[in-house]
Amino acid sequence: MLTEGRPTQPTAPNAAPAKTFTSNRALQIEEPLLFEIGRRDVTGVDLPESPKTGSKLGAFARKTAIDLPALSEPETMRHYVRLSQKNYAIDAGIYPLGSCTMKHNPRLNEKMARLPGFADIHPLQPISTVPGAVELIAEMGRWLLELTGLHTVAVSPKAGAHGELCGMMAIKAALEARGDRRSIVLVPESAHGTNPATAALLGYKVVDVPAREDGTVDPEEVKKRLSPEVAAIMLTNPNTCGLFERDVAAIADAVHAAGAFFYADGANFNAIVGKVKPGDLGVDAMHINLHKTFSTPHGGGGPGAGPVVFSAALAPYAPVPYVHVAAGKATFIETRREEGAEKSFGRMTAFHGQMGMFVRALSYMLAHGADGMKQASEDAVLNANYIRAGLADVMSQPFGNRACMHEALFDDHFLDGTGVTTLDFAKAMIDEGFHPMTMYFPLVVHGALLIEPTESESKASLDLFVATLRDLVMRAKNGEAEAFHQAPQFAPRRRLDETRAARSPKLKWERPQPYSEAAE
């Protein structure tokens, strides 16, 4: 495929596709809801005969129907394969969602996670029967601690936001242990929305810290807000503008001097792995989104996994369960009754966290090694800057033409006067076969377009992406706003009415009313 020198002249929009009898378009097939094609008298599962016993359900036996239609096995395959074909995926193309991070998901990880010794073990079978599982958690923990330079890892949080909650609960517990009830948490404006929500959930008052003109946090602004009432700062670094907080050490020092803790949102850790250890920057607690930095698949919304690393000061307050390694031997600490766990703030989830994600993450860590992890960070940053450089003359950068970390941020000033919005621009990318970047985030920038290519993209892939965006910019500036308003033309659906969905929420399939009843 031609990847360079694509025409940047406006071209005539394609003609509308011809109508078909079925409404299908070759491989793009309309698929009804399960509830419209399933039947109550069918099942796609054959089961062995039950032993002949009496019932012990007593008066509790179900008397009402459930209303769950089924499909036979071949119908089920077809239904879900057809649905899958209406999804964009990283295996299909670049997925440049800034701050979300979609990188290649190696299938080796999937294969390892499905080994019966990992997939088919129960969280409450005797620990003596799962030494390999304890070893795996300990090994993944060792990698996380070495890469972050911190002291202890809590593995049970189920997702990044759950990890934030974990880190902030440990901070709260540590403060309370010294009889210190503080009420404020500082959160920079450019933080992920989960940060203020997490602090609020724990009863803290959230105080914003504005960004200075270059998009980073000014330590003087932090100092102005520090007081004996401040429990912690929650800082994302690299921040959501794709910039490294270059005064992070000064911020950490100021926070510590005020008796508060430094919580780092580790969502963007993938930019700096092997380049700097957060522990060396003064971090007390940080969650790590395993899917972002260590490529566990995101599966259309999760599962996530959010292990949290702690400094020595916070380590005693970490939640149970966790793996403790001493003299080369890993033991599994399940309850607060066990030695060393007395100060733990408690339990965040039944069982031991996202084991399936730990296997995938360790598989990825081992495959890369220390050298590969460093190279991956460098490539992620290189790719983001390559995109930035390739678009700098046609799109607008809110903080000037300066190097970024793993994501390149643009604002919508380049669309001024064209009649094309950020949303229109994103939807036009869909027709070109690309997943749009993150839009309207971070909120501190007007009409933000945040592009994170990750290390998975080749130079050739980035060249095509840049050329396509340049072409779209050209078309917008040439007065083709109407075509942008019409986009996407070629997706399984045209633009969807989100206002209608929110105004009169329809969250469940309802059986259509029969004509006979409707007439009454």
């Binding site: 012990k56 879900y80 979300c100 010794g117 969280p123 936001a161 495959a367 050298d371 940053v381």
Partner: protein, 447 residues
């Protein structure tokens, strides 16, 4: 490094285009004194063969459930998952897609989430369900927080039949959020008087049925009492297959229904990832945590699906959001939906009946072992036995004989010596007559 597509030549060309001499120039904002000079102290890159060997060795040290007679439940259950389920969830377009932020090219994910919501709502007999939570325990904690928002009261009563680790999660989150929790004592004999604990300060009462000890609980009188004082009933289940055989919580007056969906479509995986189910009444939907998928139309009037009611969520409401949750268990929910699609009403009823029959047969076999008593009258696929001796030791002895015989209650209720002789035992469709006989025989030998 096989996962990195760029060559050194590519990298040099890209640096030239950017206009910096070296990659380190792009990291100039990191304080130089703290930047790592060499590699961190970890092994270097491994081939695919080497990774397989390393992880394979670890996996081989564990006793997989399929390799032994297996009766461990207590919140996670080993069921058979049809091969087509795992095949379908591994399709690239499902596995490697992100949150459906661009609905026009995410209709596959959005449609299955809508199907999932409908299945969960129908199963629980509730009006709306969300697009899944992390797991049953965190969903329970979120339900309590939601009840506090709805009732403006901050005291939850937790039944003694609630899974002890669910109770711990609720206690931790509530304590940290500044709320009060009234946990009732462990209830192995199904004798607790929960009605007496509900008063005018109660925001909600949290009751699990089947309970942690396997008892089926009549929720109706509890719902009535709760409603009479303006409190809500949060109904919890850890074994969703039970809903194929017993009256659903929604038909018994529950206001919020939460539970664990792992049983359908998802492997045990040592405790996660699992799939939390969360359903409630339509009138409470704007206080419901988590993601919701809704039906709408596109610019041509065709039906389509989008994430909706996001004004409740953290990315818009920040510190005013209904919860800090930002994700869901999308892929696990997909596994649930596909497996449930294969089962349907007919299959789920048969599966539930088979589970129940195997459990009844197991209870009969075990109760014939001298000294063993089954505590339950009515149960689904899980029950509690009292044995002469320390259950934790007996379970280890059984494991040494190749039988994983259940969960000693003392592992979860460690502060209560009165519970040291109890084992929670589960049977599912995977157990055979030979498995049951092996368990009874081994138990006889170790007691």
């Amino acid at each position: 490094m096989r996962y990195l597509p760029n060559t050194d030549e590519d990298r040099a060309a890209m640096l030239a285009k950017i206009g910096v001499p070296s990659i380190d120039d792009l990291f100039a904002d990191i304080p130089a004194a703290r930047r790592l000079k060499g590699l961190v102290d970890l092994p270097t890159t491994k081939s695919e063969i080497e990774v397989e060997r390393t992880l394979g060795k670890m996996a081989a040290k564990n006793t997989a459930a399929a390799s032994v007679p297996f009766f461990v439940g207590a919140g996670a259950y080993r069921h058979h998952v049809p091969a087509s389920v795992d095949h379908l969830i591994q399709r690239s377009e499902f596995l490697t897609s992100y949150t459906p932020y661009q609905p026009e090219i995410a209709q596959g994910t959005l449609q299955y989430l809508f199907e999932f919501q409908t299945q969960v709502a129908n199963l629980t007999a509730m009006e709306v369900a969300n697009a899944s939570m992390y797991d049953g325990s965190t969903a329970t904690a979120e339900a309590v927080l939601m009840a506090h928002r709805l009732t403006k009261r901050r005291k939850a009563v937790l039944s003694g039949g609630l899974h002890p680790q669910y109770r711990s999660v609720v206690e931790t989150v509530s304590r940290m959020a500044g709320d009060a929790i009234v946990p009732l004592p462990a209830d192995p004999g199904n004798t607790e008087d929960i009605l007496a604990s509900i008063d005018a300060d109660t925001s909600c009462v949290v009751v699990q049925s089947p309970s942690f000890y396997g008892h089926l609980i009549d929720l109706r009188p509890i719902a009535e009492k709760a409603h009479s004082v303006g409190a809500l009933l949060v109904a919890v289940f850890t074994e969703v297959v039970a809903l194929g055989a017993i009256e659903p919580p929604g038909a018994q007056g529950a206001d919020i229904v939460v539970g664990e969906g792992q049983s359908i479509g998802n492997p045990l995986t040592f405790g996660g990832p699992y799939v939390g189910l969360f359903a409630t009444r339509q009138k409470f939907v704007r206080q419901m945590p988590g993601r919701l998928c809704g039906e709408t139309v596109d610019a041509e009037g065709k039906r389509g699906f989008v994430l909706t009611l996001s004004t409740r969520e953290q990315h818009i409401r920040r510190d005013k959001a209904t919860s800090n949750i930002c994700t869901n268990s999308g892929l696990c929910a997909l596994a649930f939906t596909i497996h449930m699609t294969l089962l349907g009403e007919l299959g789920l009823s048969r599966l539930a009946a088979l589970n129940h029959a195997n459990a009844v047969a197991l209870a009969e076999s075990l109760s014939e072992v001298p000294g063993v008593t089954v505590l339950n009258e009515a149960f689904f696929n899980e029950f509690t036995i009292r044995i002469p001796g320390d259950a934790a030791i007996v379970i280890e002895k059984l494991a040494a004989r190749g039988v994983l015989g259940g969960v000693p209650v003392s592992r979860l209720e460690h502060d209560n010596p009165a519970l040291r002789d109890l084992i929670v035992v589960a049977a599912t469709e995977i157990n055979t007559e030979a498995d049951r006989a092996a368990y009874a025989q081994a138990l006889k030998e170790v007691l």
